[in-house]
């Protein structure tokens, strides 16, 4: 605990509030001295991205805490010694070395075993496969990967074409980077076309695998309506070619019959990391001019990358829904760009994934179960900084960009997306720990932590998009976004939290949500009145005791309640 610390407003005013700084096991907490407000600012250690100590000034030592949520806290600590201590403690606390130090594992969550177990059964991936009609006479579950025998970064339960025999599966997996052979991720019931995912083939300059070729053939045959499949390599073609020198690469169209190869050109994780950093840096420029801002936006390349990711999704969705052609998607390892492209295609194709529960399931399937390396990418543990990259940030942002174009199509609002992303980084729940299903199983996370999903669901009232209506035309069928560059916007809600310290502006969405809540109450009141009013007018004197013999008890109770309400009015 350090007293007389100043929290400096990073906006132009640079006003400071005096208060006390506390460091707990999990949070940095700043409590204002002002007895009227006693405003508290909490920062989770796992969300701290960096702590900086600019040179000491006569008024004290500055500490600048940057969070993974793009917030910046600037503190002025009177004693240099305190500042050094805080800096050292935070540096250590924000960089856990072991999983056991993480919030969800260190804050003893075993208190309520039943509740915890229930939280993990909130989503059922297999039920979602059944929802899309799988298994069926084209696609079947395979036990090949039980106990993660074939591929340790894949889930144990997988769907493959009915004609794919175990030797084909094993053979194909041997010909694919890290054993990630082609498996089903989405089945489109309307056209019977499907989306499959895998990693790059180990083709080098000339290698081929009969089993892998048979696997692709099997995928094509699993779609009776089409005589070819698309293989979407989400990398720039140059990168894919460079991989051939390392014995990897892409499918040779001469070896695979009836495939059409398509490169999309999403850049690799290193490019994306640097690009996001530029966006973050831009947010810290003090009073930038419009030119600075637009130039910064352009030179960061961020929106260009967002467009590339969305373009990949659009290509796949169109192939599946409009051409009725199945698509096999891969990048290098098939866990970053492939996850982005596949999950976006699902959002575009299937209205269910535009609901809250649907999006949760989608993330659980395309990201969590298929081995997106959450702990590496989001720096859960102090590790290799080159492994860190905002891969899921880009997916979440693409969904936001879509919601800007289709304001009635999504059940959730911007806040939901921001919260979801926050928890990918926060480690408050066990969902995103580790880098694969196997790792999570080995850590016994289901016994030791809670799942995020039921918590989000419980708070859903604050995540509802008031414009969403299940029967709205935008809610039906496939979304066809416009991906002309001018349709992409900088996501201010995500990257410019700083501005929020200005007085809150009216949000139409919040206002509409409030109006809708009020409407529901009115509807309720109206039904109550309507049940009462006609009889009330007939013989109002005995209203209280009035009850027709054919009236059901429930109605009667409701009627009493409504009368009570009226008196309160």
């Amino acid at each position: 605990m350090v007293e007389n610390v100043r929290l400096i407003d990073r906006t132009v005013s640079r006003k400071a509030t005096v208060g006390t700084l506390y460091l707990s096991a999990t949070h940095t907490i700043f409590v204002e001295n002002n007895p009227e407000t006693r405003k508290e600012t909490w920062v989770l250690h796992s969300l701290v991205a960096s702590v900086e100590r600019p040179p000491t000034t006569p008024s004290g030592s500055h500490l600048v805490i940057r969070t993974k949520n793009f917030q910046v806290l600037e503190l002025l600590v009177p004693q240099e010694r305190d500042a050094t201590d805080i800096h050292a403690s935070l540096a250590r606390l924000s960089r856990p070395e072991k999983y056991s130090e993480l919030y969800c594992l260190s804050i003893n969550p075993t208190a309520n075993k039943e509740e915890r177990e229930e939280s993990w059964s909130f989503l059922d991936l297999q039920a979602d496969y059944r929802r899309m009609g799988v298994p069926n006479n084209l696609w079947v579950g395979t036990p090949a990967n039980s106990e993660y025998r074939v591929c340790d970064t894949y889930p144990s339960e997988l769907f493959v074409p009915k004609s794919a025999t175990p030797p084909v599966i094993v053979g194909s997996s041997k010909f694919r980077s890290r054993g990630r052979f082609p498996v089903l991720t989405y089945f489109h019931q309307d056209t019977l076309a499907s989306i499959c995912r895998c990693s790059q083939p180990l083709s080098g300059f000339s290698a081929r695998s009969q089993e892998d070729e048979q696997m692709m053939q099997a995928i094509m045959k699993a779609n009776p309506g089409s005589e070819y499949i698309y293989v979407v390599d989400t990398r720039p073609k140059l990168n894919a070619m460079a991989n051939r020198a390392a014995g990897k690469g892409y499918e040779n169209e001469d070896h695979y019959t009836n495939i059409k190869l398509q490169f999309i050109g999403i850049e690799n994780i290193h490019v994306m990391r640097n690009s996001q950093q530029k966006i973050i840096d831009m947010g810290e420029v003090k009073t930038p001019s419009m030119g600075d801002f637009l130039w910064g936006l352009e030179s960061s390349g961020w929106l260009k990358h967002i467009k590339a990711v969305l373009d990949a999704g659009v290509f796949i969705a169109k192939a599946v829904a409009e051409e009725g052609v199945s698509v096999v998607v891969h990048c290098s390892d098939g866990w970053d760009r492939t996850a982005q492209a596949c999950s976006l295609a699902s959002v575009l194709l299937d209205p269910y994934y535009r609901t809250m529960k649907g999006l949760m399931l989608l993330i659980e399937r395309d990201w969590v179960s298929f081995g997106h390396k959450f702990s590496h990418r989001y720096n859960h543990l102090d590790g290799d900084p080159k492994e860190v990259s905002p891969v899921i940030d880009q997916f979440v942002e693409c969904v936001w960009q879509l919601s800007e174009q289709f304001p009635c199509a999504f059940e959730f609002n911007e806040r939901f997306l921001i919260q979801l992303r926050r928890h990918v980084y926060s480690c408050q729940y066990g969902n995103f720990l580790g880098n694969s299903q196997k790792e999570r199983r080995d850590m016994r996370l289901r016994e030791r932590t809670y799942s995020l999903w039921p918590q989000l669901w419980k708070d859903r009232a604050q995540y509802v998009n008031p414009l969403y209506r299940a029967d709205h035309t935008q809610t039906q069928g496939m979304l066809r976004p416009n991906t002309t560059p001018y349709c992409f916007k900088m996501w201010k809600g995500m990257y410019n939290r700083l501005e929020k310290s200005a007085p809150p502006r009216h949000s139409p969405a919040d206002l509409l949500t409030a109006v809708r809540e009020e409407t529901q109450q009115l509807e309720q009141e109206l039904t109550n009145h309507q049940e009462v009013a006609p009889r009330g007018t007939a013989h109002s004197g005995t209203k209280q005791e009035d009850s027709s013999p054919d009236e059901e008890e429930a109605d009667e109770q409701q009627q009493r309640r409504s009368e009570d309400d009226e008196r309160n009015v």
């Binding site: 930038p288 419009m290 030119g291 035309t473 009115l522 007018t537 109002s540």
Partner: protein, 552 residues
């Protein structure tokens, strides 16, 4: 002159109309004195009625005998007409060119237009200076309405009546006018009820290179200061530009002669720069082949958003001086008819909730733009496709459009504080450039009086203030907000005004649907509220009736 002389071919059959995001229409093209009409002569198909005045420029192309005319409109829409027959096509093209560039104002459509609606309230009388002065009188007695400009002799671009400090007589005004650009002496623009501070506007002082001064001018503006208080002069030009103006007889107020005033220079660009900016922006928006880098760099290079930011920043500064510093403000640039008006009108939107209502906004446009002498006709003679071929002095500039863009930015940041919606702003943009109404014709009150617009044409306000139209333009989210609203001018808070610049370049269906959904949610809520209230009343009546029944 007869229009028929200009129409070489009045009618062509088999013309195909192509518009982005809309089905092509094949039909008959007709030219009238004021309209280009395309009709398929089938039921249920949309006809195109385009005012010639809305046509910014046309381009012709030929493939064999099939001619194509690309019509680029002032509202930024681009349409294509495929016309069979080379001669017909050439005739149509030259007719359109002639009809869309008529010299005489009195040949414009507003002089021929007869309203198809009942004029309930004549818009020409809706916002008279006398009426707005009555409002001022109810707040303060320090001002008077002077008719020194009764015959437009003192200042050709001012209205006959202007509000000035009570203690300053007409003679002083005349002398001050001689010291200000085009006779635009300082007049009242806005009175801040909360603290009695005022905003004035004028043209630049004519100090010239040898630092001329004018005691009457000093007296006039000093009369607005409270004892011991300093005021602010906001010069919308940079100090360098203001210095240069001295060589042409203009200049700025020196500290020596105006010791009670602090001068602040801002950097709002001149008209010609703004026009160039608009051309670049629209070109960028219309080219769909750009990749992201190219789009962003073209957006930046157009500088449009920079102008928006600069104008808003200056308006915020003026509002801040008045509301936060408790000081009076004088705003001017060079002429005082462009950037000055952008600043004074936007500052009022920030400060005065009345300006955020439908009627209040009309009053603001009437007061601060039309009466204040913004040369609409000159500025709006061409829009973004003007190719500079006109031999006239080039004076077109999107000054008013930039003002509307800035209003849109504030509206977007405070979506519940405006009684009107974006539709109203778009409508004003369209009508400023081409209209069946006479409101935006002419360049000043004097010109409008000479043209007898109020007798010979219909006012846009007559149309807008009909209940059904006012309803269409209103903002369903509106909740009266009596506070001063401070917009953010950070670059990331300022967006491209898609409703104008991308309007024809993408389908707006989903956004329109969202808007309808929003309206539906709010109207359904109101409907229920009414039902519930009436039921509650009925019940209350019954309950009060009950005892009576019993006693009877």
């Amino acid at each position: 002159m007869e229009f028929a002389e200009l129409i070489k071919t009045p009618r062509v059959d088999g013309v195909v109309l192509r518009r982005p995001f809309q089905p092509t229409v094949e039909g008959t093209l007709c030219l009238t004195g004021h309209h280009l009409i395309l009709s398929s002569r089938q039921d249920n198909t949309e006809e195109l009625w385009l005012l010639h005045a809305n046509i910014d420029c046309i381009e012709k192309r030929f493939v064999g005998t099939l001619g194509t005319i690309i019509v680029k409109c002032k509202d930024l829409r681009v349409i294509q007409l495929d016309i069979p027959g080379m001669e017909e096509c050439l005739n149509i093209a030259s007719s359109i060119e002639a009809l869309s560039t008529l010299d005489s104002v009195s040949l414009m459509y507003p002089f021929f237009y007869r309203p198809m609606f009942e004029v309930i309230e004549d818009g020409w009388n809706s916002f008279l200076p006398e009426d707005s002065f009555k409002d001022l009188e109810s707040m303060t007695d320090e001002w008077r309405l002077s008719d020194v400009n009764q015959d437009y002799c003192v200042c050709a671009s001012y209205p006959p009546l202007v509000a000035v400090p009570k203690d300053v007589d007409d003679d002083t005004l005349r002398k001050a006018a001689a010291f200000r650009h085009a006779g635009r002496f300082p007049v009242l623009s806005y009175y801040h009820k909360k603290n009695g501070m005022v905003m004035m506007r004028s043209g630049q002082p004519l100090t010239g290179t040898n630092g001329r001064r004018c005691k009457e001018d000093e007296k006039l503006i000093n009369a607005t200061l409270r004892a011991g208080k300093r005021g602010y002069i906001i010069d919308t030009r940079t100090i360098a530009v203001a210095q240069q103006a001295k060589a042409r007889g203009g200049g700025f107020e020196s500290e020596a002669n105006y010791p009670q005033w602090r001068r602040i220079h801002k950097a709002i660009e001149r008209s010609s720069v703004l026009q160039e900016s608009l051309i670049k922006l629209v070109e960028a928006c219309n080219d769909q082949s750009h990749n992201m880098d190219r789009w962003l760099s073209k957006l930046e290079a157009s500088n449009w958003q920079t102008h928006v930011k600069e104008i808003l920043t200056t308006a915020c500064l003026a509002a801040q001086c008045i509301d936060r510093e408790g000081a009076s403000v004088l705003v001017h640039g060079t002429e005082g008819t462009d950037s000055t008006l952008q600043v004074t009108s936007l500052a009022q939107i920030i400060l005065d909730p009345t300006c955020r209502t439908i009627r209040g906004f009309q009053a603001l446009v009437e007061r601060e733009w039309l009466q204040a002498g913004h040369p609409f006709q000159q500025r709006c003679v061409q829009s973004a496709y003007g190719n500079g071929s006109s031999v006239k002095v080039r004076c077109e500039a999107p000054v008013f459009l930039l003002f509307l863009d800035c209003v849109w930015q504030i509206l977007r940041q405070f979506p519940c504080s405006f009684q009107f919606s974006e539709h109203f702003l778009v409508l004003l943009f369209e009508h400023a450039y081409a209209s069946q109404f006479g409101t935006f014709l002419g360049n000043s009150a004097a010109e409008r009086a000479k043209l007898k617009l109020s007798q010979k044409t219909v006012s846009l306000w007559s149309w807008v203030n009909r209940p059904q139209e006012a309803q269409r333009l209103s903002n369903p989210l509106y909740e009266a907000n009596s506070l001063v609203i401070w917009p953010s001018v950070a670059p990331q808070s300022l967006l491209l005004w898609e409703g104008v610049f991308l309007r024809w370049n993408r389908s707006s269906r989903c956004l329109d649907e969202a808007y309808e959904e929003m309206v539906h949610i709010i109207e359904y809520n109101k409907e229920l509220q009414n039902k519930v209230n009436s039921l509650r009343r009925q019940l209350a009546e019954l309950e009060t009736d009950d005892p009576l029944q019993h006693t009877e």
